[in-house]
């Protein structure tokens, strides 16, 4: 839906948008000059370290920090007692509990204390001197086991919501949710064919290469500064202020360059602890996670158990879709099961659809967003069943999807009616792509799958300042995680009609701009872009006013064309055009600085759809799977910088390949993670992969002036199912459990009697 007519899409010819200029921060990044989270230093800085629970579930009877405090070089030790006590229940309370354990350690790696010392080695030694008396409790890490009666209960205040009657005893099941419409029973009764399967997926980690890091500096007057890698420094400021019991205005947060996030840097893990240590020590404190800590104590995604049932007529029309989804949120409520349930059938135009979701806690790290949170697992289950249905009906899998595809006017499975969307376009482009017609070799299979993501807008605020030489400085409040400064500069330049190189974008700190939501929900190019364009329009208006004043004519008689003010209309008179530089040079005499500013709670983020084609080859002797062909087709609405849009497509696809083939959290019977490192939790490396072909489809989003849709997340929704469909086709058995590691694939082959 359009935000309003003022911001709505109108077709136009672009000059800068759609080109592929070099990114403004590029040289710093290729030369090593760019400063990421761990690259900050401050005079007199201390090194922080966090003590973490070795147990999956344990009551903390007592903590004795006296020996650590007595170690020479140790300047501060903090425990839960050093944080605010008046944090009310709800998500902030969960975050506090997660940042520093209170009465119980809820997972292996849960923070229980922290130290700051003059060197890293002293800090490490001090950790060993902290004595924690634990009472080890029974634990549970599997989502279905955690739901069983008699399972160890993590929190005695969780009583399942959304069920009647409300339970009288606490459990690990936080909530039941339901979405859908129509009557699925009736729909299944009308079906000629019904396919159903149960699926399991394991938790995966976003795997950003930069571990969490920050540098905190609290002053004796109670104000503080924080530098660090985050997807949302305004969120960091507000959360830290609440957890430390200080006013928001007293904390200033600067976002460093960020070395990946994918949703995993949308919450706080270290920052409040660094501030608490700095407050206690009276010195700056740097805290950096090790890779092991990243795995154990940041937020991976959920493991899930999903059951899907789909019914269809012989001609391929789907009569009903049902899914039951169980997602674990780690040690705290808040798994993305609702989004999973909403996204599950979003690709289809269904009369009868129902999804039931369960949000469950387990003794695992508190889950965090991971690219289209909740959707890839749901799509894995649904798109596997849809492809199997196609096989049963003898219909081409793309044709079956086309027959049932959601389009403009479809009532979505999660409620609203779709505006213009591009699913059909991606399916048609996939079908027409040469990849789809390529011949397969022995032991090879081809899979397709589609995917959907909502996309998001949110609170956004930008400023565009026209400098004295006519160049512009753009302040945005959304950390640049994948090249968004380039697209902001492009949109500002486009709107002002000036060269791309004449606009510089910076990510402003929390004291320099109004609140900006986190860089998530694929929202930046959409929402910060919308705010940038509108700020540029405001600046343009002011530039015209100044030109009118300089010429002594009414502002209505001035128009802005190609970066300059021109007299327009019969009464304007004859004047030489004034460039932005001409106007800026004398701004001091015509009314002062010229700037455009815009703040908005942006809605109108257009959903994005994608269809992926995958070829996989299975080694029948080992069960090893090679992906040897991959094509992503996705709707971008309008690709501002196509190369970075392609990059998002490729990156999402490869993360998906990792998820389906070999990434997973492995727990032993003590509830401990057995592969907390990049050696054993192996993300795809260059030699595992083929080139990833991309096709950008552009169905303009009516809610953005240039038609932009977010693209960052949809790209990870189809690959799980697309690869699974390809592998299943190659081995001739439907595989329903992730990851599809060699032993699992080999076992499927053996069970089938194929080897």
């Amino acid at each position: 839906m359009p935000l309003d007519s003022k911001h709505g899409f109108s077709p136009r010819q672009f000059k800068v948008v759609g080109e592929r200029p070099l990114r403004p921060d590029g040289i710093d990044k290729v030369t090593g000059r760019a400063r990421f989270g761990a690259d900050a230093f401050a005079p007199g800085m201390l090194f922080g370290k966090v003590l973490r629970s070795p147990h999956a579930h344990a009551r903390i009877r007592s903590i004795d920090t006296s020996k650590a405090e007595a170690l020479p070089g140790v300047k501060a030790v903090v425990t839960r007692a050093d944080f605010a006590t008046d944090v009310e229940e709800g998500e902030t309370a969960n975050v506090l509990e997660n940042v520093m354990a209170g009465e119980k350690a809820l997972y292996e790696g849960h923070a229980v204390a922290a130290v700051a010392a003059v060197s890293n080695s002293i800090a490490k030694k001090a950790l060993k001197l902290i004595e924690v008396d634990y009472e080890v409790l029974p634990h549970v890490t599997d989502v279905e086991k955690a739901m069983e009666p008699g399972a160890p209960v993590l929190h005695d205040h969780i009583f399942t919501e959304g069920v009647e009657p409300k339970p009288s005893s606490p459990s690990n099941v936080c909530q039941r949710i339901e979405v859908g419409h129509g009557d699925v029973e009736k729909g299944f009764a009308e079906a000629d064919v019904i396919v159903e399967h149960s699926f399991k997926t394991e938790a995966t980690h976003q795997g950003y290469i930069e571990p969490h890091a920050c540098l905190a500096n609290m002053s004796a007057d109670g104000s503080g500064e924080l530098w660090g890698c985050t997807q949302g420094h305004f969120m960091v400021r507000d959360t830290c202020a609440a957890l430390l019991g200080i006013d928001v205005s007293r904390l200033r947060v600067t976002a460093s360059e960020i070395g990946g996030g994918f949703g995993g840097k949308t919450t706080v893990f270290l920052e409040p602890t660094a501030l608490a240590l700095s407050r206690k020590a009276g010195k700056p404190v740097k805290l950096v996670m090790t890779r092991e800590e990243v795995f154990l104590a940041s937020g991976p995604t959920s493991s899930t158990a999903i059951h899907v049932k789909i019914g269809a007529k012989k001609d391929g029309s789907i009569t009903a879709g049902f899914a039951e989804l169980k997602y674990q949120g780690g040690a705290f409520p808040g798994s993305p099961v609702e989004m999973g349930a909403m996204a599950a059938f979003a690709c289809y135009d269904l009369e009868n659809v129902k999804c039931v979701g369960w949000d469950v806690v387990t003794n695992r790290p508190k889950q965090a967003a991971y690219r289209a949170p909740g959707a890839p697992m749901a799509a894995f289950a649904v798109e596997s069943v849809v492809s199997e249905l196609a096989g049963k009906l003898g219909i081409d899998p793309i044709d079956l999807r086309l027959k049932n595809a959601a389009k403009e006017g479809t009532k979505s499975s999660y409620g609203p009616t779709f505006g213009p969307i591009g699913l059909v376009e991606t399916l048609e482009a996939a079908k027409a792509h040469p990849h789809y017609a390529k011949k397969l070799g022995p032991n090879q299979g081809r899979g397709v799958a589609s995917g959907f993501w909502f996309n998001f807008g949110g609170q956004t605020c930008t400023s565009l300042n026209v400098n004295i030489d006519g160049t512009c400085t753009l302040s945005v409040g959304t950390p640049d995680i994948g090249g968004s400064r380039a697209s902001m500069c492009m949109m500002a330049a486009e709107e002002l009609g000036i060269p791309y190189d004449n606009v510089r974008a910076i990510v402003a700190d929390t004291s320099s701009l109004g609140y900006n939501d986190v860089t998530d929900g694929s929202r930046v190019t959409f929402a910060s872009g919308l705010a940038t364009i509108t700020a540029a329009r405001e600046a343009k208006k002011k530039l015209c006013e100044r030109a009118a004043a300089m010429w002594g004519i009414p502002v209505e008689a001035v128009e802005w064309v190609d970066g300059e003010a021109r007299p327009a209309g019969p009464n304007a008179g004859e004047f030489e055009p004034l460039s932005i530089a001409d106007i800026a040079a004398v701004a001091g005499n015509t009314g002062g600085p010229i700037a455009g500013h815009y703040e908005v709670s942006a809605d109108g983020a257009g959903p994005s759809f994608a269809t992926h084609i995958v070829d996989a080859e299975v080694d029948p002797d080992t069960g090893r799977v090679w992906v040897n062909g991959y094509t992503v087709v996705q709707d971008a609405g309008k690709a501002i910088h196509p190369a970075y849009v392609e990059g998002q497509f490729q990156g999402g696809a490869v993360q998906g390949i990792g998820w389906v083939l070999n990434e997973c959290y492995m727990y032993n019977d003590k509830g401990k993670m057995e592969n907390a490192g990049f050696l054993d939790y192996r993300i795809p490396v260059a030699s595992d992969l083929p080139m990833i072909d991309t096709v950008i489809v552009e169905v303009p989003n009516p809610g953005h002036p240039y038609g932009v849709r977010g693209v960052g997340e949809t790209s990870i929704v189809p690959p799980l199912a697309a690869v699974a469909n390809a592998v299943s086709a190659a081995v001739g058995v439907r595989l329903t459990e992730l990851p599809m590691s060699p032993p699992r694939v080999l076992k499927a082959l053996e069970d089938k009697g194929l080897v």
Partner: protein, 158 residues
Amino acid sequence: MKRIPVSTTINGDAVEFLCEPEETLLDVLRDRLGMTGSKEGCGTGDCGACSVTVDGRLVCSCLMLGAEAQGREIGTIEGVSDGERLHVLQSKLLEHAALQCGICTPGIVVAAKSLLERNPDPDETEVRYWLAGNLCRCTGYDKIVRAVLDAAQEIRKG
């Protein structure tokens, strides 16, 4: 703790430093010498973000002790470009949009440069295997591989 005096050469300059026996070369570069271009992604030799050269050989600086730098020639990302002039690899990575967050980029530049010094005409498979020790989570490697192949071609053209 007793510190060890070390004399070494970094990017052609003679450098002396004191380090603790357990400190890695990466710790020394970043924490003692302020050269933060080399990144720590894992500290266990699995991600390649800390890649440097030692006497011309590509190594993970997180796997080598600082004290072992004694008498060696160390090459880091800070020494790859020549003043304002980028190395061909750096410009090609930029041109191909072969970086998103950019945290892996210094390591990729150092590793790829070392490949092209050995083999100025690698094919796609060789590039992929040579860079298998350098994790990139953002790009899916497609644009990186293309950039490296393009840089190789440019270098061969002279």
